[in-house]
Symmetry: C2
């Protein structure tokens, strides 16, 4: 399958495994890239730029296909050495970076000079257009359905992607709400040149996530996610569990929510502990509405092959409807 | 274009103009049906069953193509003679009914006996499956994007339609978030056998809506709708204007919202007055997120032809991507 995105990224299928804190590590990334998609390491999952350098080298030993690195730029109490992470990415010869959160503008000159293609995640048309303006190569258009940070405007993919198709001149991929071949073809119909999947890749054999968490996502359906941190204007979509219900209870208390009230619940380590220990109430579990469309725990290769086969069937059916 | 839905309904294109209070009248309905789609009269827009009978007869003088009648079954302070409306529909020889709100189960035996096909609107997978179980012919699967009543589970079309494709055995159409050919093909990719459009048909030359309101929808974008009545568990999606902002202000007051507090804002007449007077602050204006995708005021014929042409181009492009 050939699209502008497969051409720009040098991959076989237009399927990207987006950055995921604690999940985007060498084994999963290499499995996705070996299956013909684009695996993406998550830089800040590594404790230091040097550790990222080692993770990149480890990934190179596992695949000779292209893979990328995600850098999510968020406000933080402890300063994060973003410059150094970006320097490691460039020095390691990585040619694809995925940025998210704040604008990647400060890093773009250095990335362009090194021939690195930039995918930037955006949850609103306004941010899509800003990304295009500052020179990113591909926008990852993240709908209301997505895990993690869907933004505050609540525009789902059906509308947001169709709007992106009207306004963007650079290629974009669809993120949020997609887990199968139907989703891939729908995204392409809406103008996307490929898809990004997060939650779907968490529930694969190669994801470094405890089996209990994978099974919990299989068991949940599309009504089992909740939105947290809305009161902080930093909305997150997670699975309903004891931790997210506690957060919501705090947010719903009369009066203004103070970040400090819930800070003990939100430190990244809680998410990591849950993912690794297998306690479904051990932390926040970031997952999108596609939870409802996830019914098994395949290898990345089986998953990607299946999505492409499903997509082929769907496109053939559409041709048939058209020719009648 | 041939799908299970065009076959069941006896129409040329799989495009349905869903029921809309104050808008679904003879002129618009006939224009949609004459253009190859399915126009649907809204029964309760008529003040009495006898008035509906006359509106049906009027529509028959304007088109010889199939059209339907919507019956929305909602709790009401003043009893509505639903039985009589349904009796008129059957006696008038109408062969397609669209039901919404509560279950149409009580009316199904009489409708089936008269050979009337039943389209039922549902905003969750649970309600889709209930509709299938009681014997409706087609489900109109209404995503979070839709105008009017999106339900309380907030599942957008990308996920809800893909889930419906997994679970339903009867055909379904996609409702909410669709205004163009990209949306039609995306819906079909997600398993729908056609689309329902509401807001898009409000902004056509034939819709009985004041020009100012049509232009207001053209001028608004996808971020200009708001959700009201969430505190009453009866969420509605409308455009942001003075009336909806007043409703939200009341809903956000500390303490439980009382329906009586906002009742003066919600009586149907307020919506009708706005639509007919052209005062954009004259009442609630029900509109979906597709507002962002509406840029002109075409005739229904131009609109439907354009959607089909756009869909053909999109499907051809997908075939091309696949064959590379």
């Amino acid at each position: 399958m050939k699209t502008t995105v497969t051409e720009i990224l040098g991959i076989k299928y237009p399927i990207v495994q987006g950055g995921m804190q604690w999940v985007g590590r060498a084994g999963l990334v290499a499995a996705v890239s070996n299956a013909g998609g684009l695996g993406i390491l998550t830089a800040l999952t590594q404790p230091s730029p040097q550790a990222l350098r080692e993770e990149i080298e480890k990934t190179k030993t596992l695949t000779d296909k292209p893979f990328g690195v995600n850098v999510t730029i968020l406000p933080s109490r402890q300063p994060v050495p973003y410059d150094e992470y970006v320097k490691v990415i460039i020095e390691s010869g990585i040619k694809i970076i995925e940025t998210a959160g704040r604008s990647p503008a400060p890093f773009i000159p250095a990335l362009k000079a090194a021939g690195v293609k930039i995918i930037h995640k955006a949850t609103s048309l306004k941010h899509c257009l800003s990304a295009e303006k500052i020179g990113v190569d591909i926008v990852s258009v993240d709908g209301f359905e997505c895990a993690g940070h869907p933004g505050e405007t609540d525009i789902p993919g059906l509308v947001l992607l169709a709007r992106a198709a009207e306004e963007l001149t650079i290629p974009f991929i669809a993120s949020g709400g997609i887990a199968n071949g139907r989703g891939l073809v729908a995204a392409m119909a809406l103008g996307a040149a490929g898809i990004n999947m997060g939650t779907r890749f968490v529930v694969t054999k190669e994801a470094p996530v405890h089996e209990n968490i994978k099974q919990f996502i299989v068991d949940c359906d599309e009504t089992d996610t909740v939105l947290i941190f809305r009161s902080l204007q930093n909305t997150g979509r997670v699975l309903r569990n004891a931790v997210s219900e506690e957060v919501i209870e705090i947010e719903n208390r009369p009066g203004k929510t103070d970040f400090a009230d819930i800070a003990h619940l939100v430190v990244g380590a809680r998410g990591r502990e849950g993912l690794e220990s297998g306690d479904i109430n051990g932390g926040l579990i970031w997952a999108g509405l596609v939870t409802g469309l996830i019914h098994d725990i395949p290898t990345c290769d089986v998953l990607i092959s299946r999505i492409i086969q499903e997509a082929e069937v769907v496109i053939q059916e559409q041709m048939k409807a058209l020719s009648c």
